[in-house]
């Protein structure tokens, strides 16, 4: 059988979901954001909830997320996505509402909104992209930056005496009574992507069952900010990030 014969519609086993628009994503080559966008779009498509899902886009690299997934979106002020999502969910209680936030948005300027939304147990899903850096603004130190990691604003490496410790906000949120599901995943290889997709699906299902807030943290790469190639970023992430941010469920009730 030739390759041309194999390439026929009935043999298609994997392709772009129709929920992803044809707009070319503005992300850098190899960015984890693209994979997570794809997974969210696939899950919404598979669950058939396109017409009842509202996403809340953050400030950060994912600020244009509304251009890429064909659902309703609302843009929030920096860090305020969980507060906006709370309002949408309370006004449209049968809708699926999620926020999509980076670590600068969720764990720095928006820490208060995040913690209080989770503590109230709002029936929303929070997708949290943790790449340990402020990607959009040029790779500055974030609360999640690892100790010793060099960034534009800590060129000698982060020191805890001066800059504090990396914030493991996932663990913090798992402590709150309002959260029902807190998990940490990654998307650098096939097995990890499959697990991450399962976690995203579970978060949406928790919204349907009104169990409380679901938080899916995705440990990600920022090859431009880390100044590595996409593949080397993945290796660096596996070696350094996963030591500080180990994968797995932090809470599942």
């Amino acid at each position: 059988m030739t390759t041309q014969e194999i390439i026929s519609p009935e043999n298609l086993v994997y392709g772009k979901t129709k929920l992803l628009t044809d707009n070319v994503m503005h992300y850098c080559p190899g960015c984890s954001h693209g994979v997570v966008h794809k997974l969210i779009a696939e899950v919404i498509d598979e669950m058939g909830i396109q017409n009842t899902t509202v996403g809340v886009a953050p400030v950060g690299c994912a600020v244009f997320a509304y251009n890429y997934i064909d659902i309703d979106w609302q843009e929030a002020a920096h860090g305020r996505a969980p507060a906006v999502a709370t309002a949408i969910k309370r006004l449209l209680p049968e809708h699926f509402v999620f926020t999509y936030q980076g670590d600068g948005d969720l764990a720095a300027i928006g820490t208060a909104e995040t913690i209080h939304a989770c503590n109230r147990g709002e029936n929303i899903a929070i997708f949290f992209i943790n790449n340990a850096i402020y990607g959009m603004t040029g790779g500055q130190m974030a609360p999640t930056t690892l100790e010793g990691m060099k960034t534009a604003t800590c060129p000698a490496g982060r020191e805890h005496e001066l800059n504090g410790y990396p914030l493991k906000i996932g663990n913090l949120l798992a402590e709150l009574d309002g959260t029902c599901y807190v998990t940490r995943q990654s998307v650098e290889k096939l097995a990890a992507v499959v697990k991450a997709k399962r976690a995203i699906r579970k978060a949406f299902e928790n919204c349907r069952e009104k169990k409380g807030t679901s938080v899916v943290e995705i440990v990600s790469t920022c090859s431009s900010g880390w100044k590595l190639t996409p593949h080397k970023s993945n290796l660096w992430m596996q070696e350094n990030m996963l030591a500080k941010y180990p994968l797995g469920d932090l809470k599942n009730v």
Binding site: M1, T3, I6, I7, S8, N11, L12, V13, Y14, G15, K16, T17, L20, V24, M25, Y27, C28, P29, G30, C31, S32, H33, G34, V35, K38, V187, E188, K189, L190, V193, V194, S223, T229, P230, H231, N234
Partner: protein
């Protein structure tokens, strides 16, 4: 003969040449084309198409969803 045969199609115009699919492929099917698309990126291409087993690893890790995977089972 392999039990499964596969083939991938890359949307070359949307590919940004990050090479993650090349690294993800367990069969070393994919490589970077010497050609570039209109944005100047070398895009991913099948360089050893006879080895493809349609495992979808390339498609799953692709951040820009440019890869379609086709698979057949040999009778």
């Amino acid at each position: 003969m392999a039990k499964f045969r596969g083939a991938v199609v890359v949307d070359t115009e949307r590919c940004k040449g990050c090479e993650l699919c090349v690294e993800a492929c367990p069969q070393d099917v994919l490589g970077m084309s010497p050609k570039v698309n209109s944005k100047g990126y070398h895009y991913s291409d099948m360089v050893a198409e006879e080895n493809c087993i349609g495992c979808m690893a390339c498609g799953y890790v692709c951040p820009d969803a440019v890869i379609s995977v086709y698979k057949v089972t040999n009778a």
